[in-house]
């Protein structure tokens, strides 16, 4: 029983993280019809960014925030410079573009950051909590709890706000959404990342090459997605009409977790 619980806890933790990654992946696919092979690299940016910024002296929350913004910026650039121009290309071409982006980001990251393993401290300590014969780390609770909050928030956003519904409409049928007078000329995709630092012990390194990490069964940094409340409302005139349905919106608070696979 204890063993089952232990497995359950770790399964839920890892599952929560993967669910968030998958959520972002699905949002992108629904909005842009693109399989984003660079998804893992956004995770990596958040993680490594947080690490390096924290090491440079910033507080963890601030470092995480900036790292998230950096990831969002990269996502925006990727969309603007790579996906947008290739609109209408075959699935293979789009896949190859995101794969190319993934390779590119990895290549740059290895220069900007480095190729070493890194660690971050946990939020509220790393003393395991005993629960039903098994133990669970406080950070795991943060992960699972945070994930649930994010899912709920995204659900509310998509179902209850006008902006969210516009995103869904765009995902369902882009042309129709535009034709029914989407004033923003397309809607930003509410794709946001959330990162949190997590202290891992030395047995769980972080690796710049997320995809390799997955393959070699190293611990995985994962990003979590949250929504930014409110979006950016404002008169269309100020927007310069450049909004597109699948542009990632901003995000703040972040979290990044590291788990043994």
């Amino acid at each position: 029983m204890a063993e089952f619980l232990q497995l359950l806890f770790s399964g839920l933790t890892v599952g929560a993280v993967y669910a968030l990654v998958a959520l972002g992946f699905t949002l992108i696919y629904n909005a842009s019809d693109v399989i984003n092979f660079a998804q893992g690299d956004f995770v990596m940016i958040g993680g490594m960014g947080t690490v390096f910024l924290a090491a440079a002296g910033l507080s963890l929350p601030l470092a995480a925030l900036i790292a998230i913004l950096a990831a969002v910026a990269v996502g925006l650039l990727l969309h603007r410079l790579a996906i947008e121009p290739a609109r209408g290309a075959s699935p293979v071409a789009l896949i190859m573009i995101t794969i190319g982006a993934s390779i590119f980001i990895k290549g740059i990251a290895q220069i900007v950051f480095d190729k070493q393993f890194h660690a971050l401290p946990a939020f509220t300590g790393s003393e395991p909590i005993a629960l039903g014969g098994a133990t669970i780390l406080p950070q795991s609770l943060w992960v699972i709890g945070g994930a649930i909050v994010l899912f709920a928030a995204l659900h509310l956003f998509l179902e209850r706000t006008l902006l969210g519904k516009a995103v869904l409409a765009t995902a369902a049928n882009r042309l129709a959404a535009r034709l029914v007078g989407d004033q923003r000329q397309g809607h930003p995709r509410a794709r946001i990342r959330r990162f949190r630092g997590h202290r891992r012990d030395r047995r769980r390194p972080r690796h710049a090459d997320h995809a390799d990490a997955l393959r070699h069964r190293h611990p995985v940094r994962v990003e979590r997605f949250c929504r930014r409340d409110g979006g950016r409302h404002g008169p269309p005139a100020r927007r310069r009409g450049r909004r597109r349905p699948d542009r990632p919106d901003g995000g703040f608070r972040g979290g990044l977790y590291q788990f043994d696979l």
Binding site: I35, A82, P85, A86, A89, P91, V92, A93, I95, M96, I97, I99, G100, A101, S102, I103, F104, I105, K106, G107, I108, Q110, I111, A211, R215
Partner: protein, 315 residues
């Protein structure tokens, strides 16, 4: 994109042969011959892939897996089974074809993204097998490969490898060109454009797709075998996702469905890193950037674009 370009079949072969003849004359050292041999070998694999992706329109993101089968085949044959490297190469190619035949039937029912991911998964499985079965494959460190001997003649020097790989590529190109201008080739190109209409014309779509898949797998296996023999060493890396991506990039950058395109694409992606050794650190970033730029700016590929440009100039 193939339409109208099929008649100069002989022209393509002659051009290729000419280039092959000229390179050794201008190559400053054996190193360059080795690089050229690498180009011919990867061009062979890319050629098979262009038959699958360009003619038949079926994407494969796991093609390096077949390369690995050929490579490990020529390694394992002599080392564990006592077979000659040449026989091992033939058997490995056959095995690759058989595996493609078996795996292709369920996989090729998928389309678009699903097919891409399924082939990706298949490639990963093979790479994993090569990595894990250490007793047979030497694990992550790979294994040594015996030198290729053809009827007593041991192929070892760069010059010898250059001519062997060039010759094999020429034969491969000839076969691919034959296929393009034939009933089977038309059937493949038809099902690429519209499966339902091809079926409506009597084409057995499933069987044709499978045939293309098998042919592509055999091409890749032969290329893999040659690669392993030339390098004298094989590691599981050969079947990695990165290699599969590079193969697809070669095909698309060079020109989907074009025989010359496969060669140009291979040359591009192999020569470039060599030329950029000064930028060693940036190699990955540059590769990624190149892939993106070409997919966005030159989606038709180098050879078809050049051809079109030439035709416009001449008319």
């Amino acid at each position: 994109m193939l339409a109208g370009a099929l008649r100069p079949r002989l022209a393509t072969l002659v051009l290729l042969a000419l280039v092959m003849a000229v390179v050794p004359l201008v190559a400053p050292s054996a190193f360059y011959l080795r690089v050229a041999a690498l180009v011919w070998i990867f061009a062979l694999a890319a050629l098979g892939l262009t038959i699958l992706m360009g003619y038949a329109g079926q994407v494969s993101l796991g093609h390096a897996g077949f390369l690995g089968i050929g490579a490990y085949g020529v390694a394992i044959g002599p080392a564990h089974l006592g077979l000659s490297p040449l026989l091992s190469l033939v058997l490995a190619a056959a095995l690759s074809g058989i595996i493609a035949y078996v795996v292709g039937q369920p996989i090729l029912r998928l389309k678009g993204y699903y097919l891409a991911i399924a082939t990706l998964g298949f490639g990963l499985i093979l790479a994993l097998i090569f990595q894990s079965e250490s007793a047979v494959t030497g694990g992550p460190d790979g294994m040594a490969v015996a030198r290729l001997t053809v009827f007593g003649w041991r192929i070892a020097s760069a010059m010898q490898w250059y001519w062997v790989s060039a010759g094999v590529l020429l034969v491969g190109a000839w076969i691919a060109l034959n296929l393009a201008d034939s009933p089977s080739g038309r059937a493949l190109r038809a099902l690429h454009d519209s499966e339902v209409a091809a079926a409506g014309a009597g084409v057995d779509v499933a069987a044709r797709k499978l045939a293309a898949f098998v042919v592509a797998a055999i091409y890749a296996a032969i290329a893999g075998g040659l690669l392993a023999c030339m390098n004298g060493l094989i590691t599981p890396d050969a079947a990695s996702f990165m290699h599969s991506v590079e193969l697809v990039a070669m095909v698309i950058i060079g020109g989907l469905g074009s025989v010359l395109g496969a060669v140009v694409g291979a040359a591009f992606l192999i020569v470039l890193p060599q030329a950029l050794t000064a930028l060693q650190e940036y190699e990955q970033a540059v590769l990624g950037l190149l892939i993106m730029v070409f997919m966005i700016a030159l989606p038709a590929g180098i050879v078809p674009t050049l051809r079109k440009w030439l035709m416009e100039r001449l008319s």
